[in-house]
Structures are given as C-alpha cells and as structure tokens.
Amino acid sequence: MSGFLGSTVGKKYLMGISGLVWAGFVLAHMAGNLLIFVSHDAYNAYGHALTSGNIIYVAEAVLILALITHVYTAVSLTAANKSAKPTKYAVAASGKKKVTLASRTMAIQGSLILVFVILHLITFKYGTHYETTVNGVVMRDLAKLMEEVFQSVGYVAWYVVALLLLGFHLSHGVGSSFQSLGLMEGTYRNLWKKLSYAYAFVVALGFIAQPLYLFMFAH
C-alpha cells in the first residue's frame, strides 16, 4: 500500500476522502446552526445534546484525522506541483482555454479557511462560557455568545468573507473529490459537478445567513 499512498493518485484519494468528510461536517454544522432561527433555547439544547455524549469525541477524532490528512496531502502535493512547473507563462490564459479561479487557487483558499477554523474554535468552542437553563437543564448559552460576537461589523464581515471562501472551496472541491476517487465518469459526470456547485451554495448561504441575521435583528 505504500506505493499507493506515495503516488500522486493515492494522495489525491486521501485528499478527496478527507475533504468529503469535512464537506459532510460543514453541511451538518450549517443545518444544526439553523436552529438559531427557531429559538435560542432550541439552539442551545441542540448544542448541549451534541456535546453531552461520548460520540462527540469520536466525531472530533475523525475530523482531526481528516484535517491532518487533508493538510498533509495538500502541502505535499502543492510543493510537488510547484517544482513540476517552476516557470510560469509570461501571459495568463484569458480566452477559451482559461480555467475557473476556484480551481486554480485551492491551496490559498484552504490556508485561509484553516486560519478561519482555528479562530472560529477560539471564539466559540473556547470562548466565554455563559450558562442558561432550558427545560430545567443547565447548559452552555452559546446563542448568547453568538449574538454578542456578531454585533461587531468587523466580525460579521470576516465571517461572510471566510464563508464565501469556504463556498468557493467546496464548489470546486466536492466535485473534484469525486473525480479523484474515479467516480466522475459516464452519464452522471456533469451531475456531480452541478451537485458540487449546489452544495457549496447551500452551505455558504446557510452559514452566512446566521451572522447577518444576528447582526441585523438581534437586540
């Protein structure tokens, strides 16, 4: 198997699988967060339910493993790609043969998203610990923290930019993963691509709606 994992194709398998793990996570994360539109209690109760069992540790372990895999393969492939093409063209393709910006800038998007994820964890997971009681159960009041954080224009703007970037990354990444895994063939080839765009749009829109909503309508 070392031959497989050492090859460019094998690394793309790892990158695709780990990317899809995170793509699945962001959809679930976005969908769960939509409870903020229902009520603060519903949102907090959902967060509490997620974190009270042991399953959270399993999920976190899988995500961390996927993240390490994704970043490792990204760094190693990007370095190899750079040395494979040391000289760039004097003029960039601008006509029928140019390619999408999203597909050309995956590495830089990924780096910025990684920074965002770290800061996001600091702000929320490791942020101020407020408490509230929902149906007699004492739990963390994440909704309050969220509301507080998204009163700042700067924060909201940074989130919107970062989440647009995430959408951008997903729009190419999800489809490209299916390609790397060897599934983008035959009749459904273009369907995968369209699904990738739709997925990115839904995830980015769903996420962005939350800080915007809290900024404009909370308090």
Binding site: M1, G3, F4, S7, T8, V9, G10, K11, K12, Y13, L77, A80, N81, S83, A84, K85, P86, T87, K88, Y89, A90, V91, A92, A93, S94, G95, K96, K97, K98, V99, T100, S103, R104, M106, H172, G175, S176, F178, Q179, S180, L181, G182, L183, M184, E185, G186, R189
Partner: protein, 262 residues
C-alpha cells in the same frame, strides 16, 4: 490565395540551448496571409531571419495536419493558441487581429526541458508509454472479425481516448504540469478493450509510477488540459485512471514462484 493580410508583433522566447537562460525577443511578422497557418507564419519570419544572417526560431513540427503531435507551443498563455481542438499547425492566422502582439513561449514543465527556443524534450512521455502503454500478450493469428465482442460504447470511448497524439499540451496548460490526461488516455484506450485486460493492473500501477517518477505534478481537476487538448481528450479518462490505479493497488496479488510446466 489573395485573402486579407495582417501585421503582427511577436514576442518570441529565444533560448540558445538547454543551459541558456533565454528571454523574449520582439520580432515583426509583416504581411501575413490570413490563410497561413501559425507555423507557416513562423516559416516566413524564419526566412527573413535567415536572410539577415540570424538564427531561425526553432520549433517542432512534422505532419502539419494536426495528427502527429510534433508541434506545440504556447501563444498568449494558451497551449496551441486560442482555438479549441486545434494544434498550432492547424491554427490559422485569420483568428488573429491585425496589429496584435502575441507572446510565444515553449511548453513549460520541469519534465519538459527546453532544448532550444520553442522546442522541448517530451521524451518523458515515451518513458511513460514504455512502462506499460502496450499489450504484450501474444495473440496468434488475426482472428475473424467479431470473434472478440466489444460493445459499441466501449469501442467509441476507447477510440476517442486513443486519438491522443501525445503533443504535451495537457502538461503545458496545467498549472501543476500534470501528465494525468495523457497517461490516463493511454491507460483508457487499452483498459476499455478485451485485449487490454491481461495487463490491466500492472499497466495502471506502472504507468502512474512512471508518470510520478518523471516529475509531473498531480491533477487538481482545473480542466485546463481538457480545454487545451487538440484532440478533445476528456477528464473522464483521469477518473478512470485513478480508479484503475486504486483497484490495482487494493487487489494486488502476491507473486508466486517462477516455474510451471515445461
């Protein structure tokens, strides 16, 4: 051939040899017939250079019919120029505006070192082919037509993969200088046919290893290769190669000892 004529400014990459640093040189292409191909335009520029006692621009070419894969360079950042499904020998000057300034560069890739001017060494492709792009099983005499059944869809797909002329535009267009489109086309056109089954796994394993060993980059699915390919080789081939490679790795058998009957 009394069509319109145009004048162009060419910024051509001139490099005396593999070790020379090289650089762009401005040249004028005057009174170019719109019916001329890009290579014919360069021929005329070269004639002028030779008359003046200068070195002509070196570029690869052979059939000039778009079927051999010998020619190829980059015009304004696009491999084989601005037209889709076209090699530079089949690219006509009517696609350019009078007074245009065109930047002409060799294919850029670490695995394609420049030999001179616009000529690059593409022998890395030959080495990928020799690692497994063939069928070595003895087939005996030619069998009757239709004795080996091939579904029409497979035959069509294999044929379209087999139209790859190995020009290297895919590598040139790719920001990672990936040879995935070329290698996958060469794997595909055999794996889709019954004759290609015997060496199926070994072929995928060896050709991908050879591709990596030559120092080509990996596929990021930008689609630049597909857009640049004069033969419209599709990205589907790369998906197929990846699957072939993974299946080969996952189902590899242990080697048995040599020997056997006789």
């Amino acid at each position: 051939m009394s069509g319109k004529h145009i004048n162009l400014t060419l910024k051509v990459w001139r490099q005396k040899g593999p070790k020379d640093q090289g650089g762009f040189v401005d040249l004028q292409a005057k009174n170019v017939s719109e019916d001329a191909s890009f290579l014919e335009m360069l021929d005329a520029v070269n004639e002028e250079l030779v008359t003046k006692g200068d070195e002509p621009i070196a570029f690869d070419h052979d059939c000039r019919e778009g079927i051999c894969g010998a020619c190829g360079f980059v015009i304004d950042g696009e491999a084989h120029g601005p037209m889709k499904s076209t090699t530079v020998c089949q690219l006509h000057m009517r696609n350019f505006n009078d007074g245009a300034v065109l930047t002409i560069e060799p294919f850029r890739a670490n695995a394609f070192p420049v030999i001179k001017d616009l000529m690059v060494d593409r022998s890395a492709f030959d080495r990928i082919i020799s690692s497994g792009g063939f069928i070595s099983a003895n087939t005996g005499n030619a069998v009757d037509a239709n004795a080996i059944l091939v579904p029409k869809a497979d035959a069509d797909e294999a044929m379209s993969s087999a139209t790859c002329i190995g020009c290297g535009a895919c590598v040139a267009a790719c920001k990672n200088a990936s040879a995935a489109l070329f290698t996958s086309a060469k794997i595909s056109h055999m794996v889709l046919l019954p004759q290609g089954q015997v060496e199926r796994k070994e072929r995928a394993t060896r050709m991908v290893a050879a591709m990596d060993a030559e120092g080509f980059g990996s596929c990021t699915t930008t689609g630049a290769c597909e857009a640049a390919c004069p033969k419209e080789i599709q990205l589907t081939n790369i998906a197929r190669m990846n699957r072939e490679f993974a299946v080969a790795a996952a189902t590899k058998r242990e080697k048995h000892g040599d020997g056997g009957a006789g």
